[in-house]
């Protein structure tokens, strides 16, 4: 009888371990999809913000096409920086 009891407890432990693993995997999948959504908008938003700032400054100083171009490029750079930072964070989480 004691053998049977032993087997029962061992089965229980193994089952709970398996369940934990499955749960973790499902958790991770959601996080990945969330990250994918995050990166796309991060890139675009910075470009949009940069362009808007350029447009406003152009109207202020009356230098119509110059600042909008410059700030569009700054915005693109900021977008890449954003994505870079987010990716770095993800790498940190993965390890």
């Amino acid at each position: 009888m004691s053998d049977l009891e032993d087997l029962k407890t061992r089965l229980k432990i193994a089952k709970s371990k398996l369940q934990n693993k499955n749960l973790k995997k499902a958790d991770k999948k959601g996080v990945f999809l969330g990250n994918a959504f995050k990166l796309g908008t991060e890139l675009v938003a910075a470009v949009a913000v940069g362009t808007i700032i350029g447009f406003i400054l152009d109207n202020w100083f009356g230098t119509k096409p110059i600042l909008i171009i410059v700030f569009f490029l700054f915005g693109a750079a900021a977008g890449i920086v954003n994505v870079f930072k987010a990716a770095k964070k993800m790498q940190g989480d993965g390890n």
Partner: protein, 244 residues
């Protein structure tokens, strides 16, 4: 049913027109669904915590799991210092989640599919976090615009890039939620329209697609609320623990 897939996003007045000094404050379908989700959340949490049993009932389990989920998320991303901000992040997450989920019901209205709603959330968070950063760190908070180890020549350019990157936070935060909700609901309506126009013979294909999309949309509804809350935590973390 309306054939126009964008008609579901129309805001219209319910009841009398209320105007206070030129600002239209009438009760709309948008406000109705916000109220419904707020009432549902309150009911869930009140009923869930009314009987504090050791072996929880289903509703108690649900509210306790929600609490644990957010508490763990905050401690994972923003550390122990962020504990005082738990109520704010919890309400934010659960409100967005309920708005998204109620939007999945037929004939309902998705509050979060309007950019003005999500942008208001995002700007509120942005201003709050910025003020918090300045209150805690003083003018040292400006250091987040000046990364360490950058050559002097590049410093002005990098600072401008960092400022734009900082300013883009509320935009990306709000656009993500709004675009996901709006695109998903439009797509559901378009495929629903295909079912009707293709009729009994050809309608099965878009119908099956529509079923799959509904599943995806429920996932997106949860995920977007989660992403919104987790990004709020990350921004909060940047303001609380200054390190660059």
């Amino acid at each position: 049913m309306a054939a126009n897939p964008m008609q579901q996003f129309e805001v219209h007045r319910i009841g009398p027109e209320i105007k206070i000094s030129g600002i239209d404050l009438s009760f709309t379908n948008s406000s109705l669904f916000m109220t419904i989700s707020a009432v549902l959340i309150t009911a869930l949490l009140l009923f869930g915590t009314r009987e504090k049993k050791l072996v929880p009932s289903k509703i108690q389990l649900m509210s306790e799991m929600l609490y644990n989920f957010i508490a763990k998320m905050i401690s994972d991303t923003a550390g122990k210092k962020a504990k005082p901000y738990f109520p704010f992040i919890f309400s934010l997450f659960i409100f967005i989640l309920f708005c998204n989920m109620i939007g999945m019901l037929p004939y309902s209205f998705t509050v979060t599919s309007h950019i003005i709603v999500t942008l208001t959330f995002a700007i509120f968070i942005f201003i709050g976090v910025t003020i918090l950063g300045f209150v805690i760190h003083g003018f040292k908070y400006l250091k987040i615009f000046v990364p360490s180890g950058v050559p002097i020549v590049l410093l002005p350019i990098i600072t401008i890039i960092e400022i734009i990157s900082y300013l883009s936070r509320p935009v990306s935060l709000s656009v993500r939620l709004f675009a996901n909700m709006m695109a998903g609901h439009t797509m559901l309506k378009v495929f629903g329209g295909f079912v009707i126009s293709l009729g009994l013979i050809g309608g099965w294909l878009p119908l099956s697609f529509s079923v799959a999309l509904t599943g995806l949309e429920i996932l997106v509804a949860f995920l977007q609320a989660y992403v919104f809350a987790i990004l709020t935590c990350i921004y909060l973390n940047d303001a609380l623990n200054l390190h660059h």
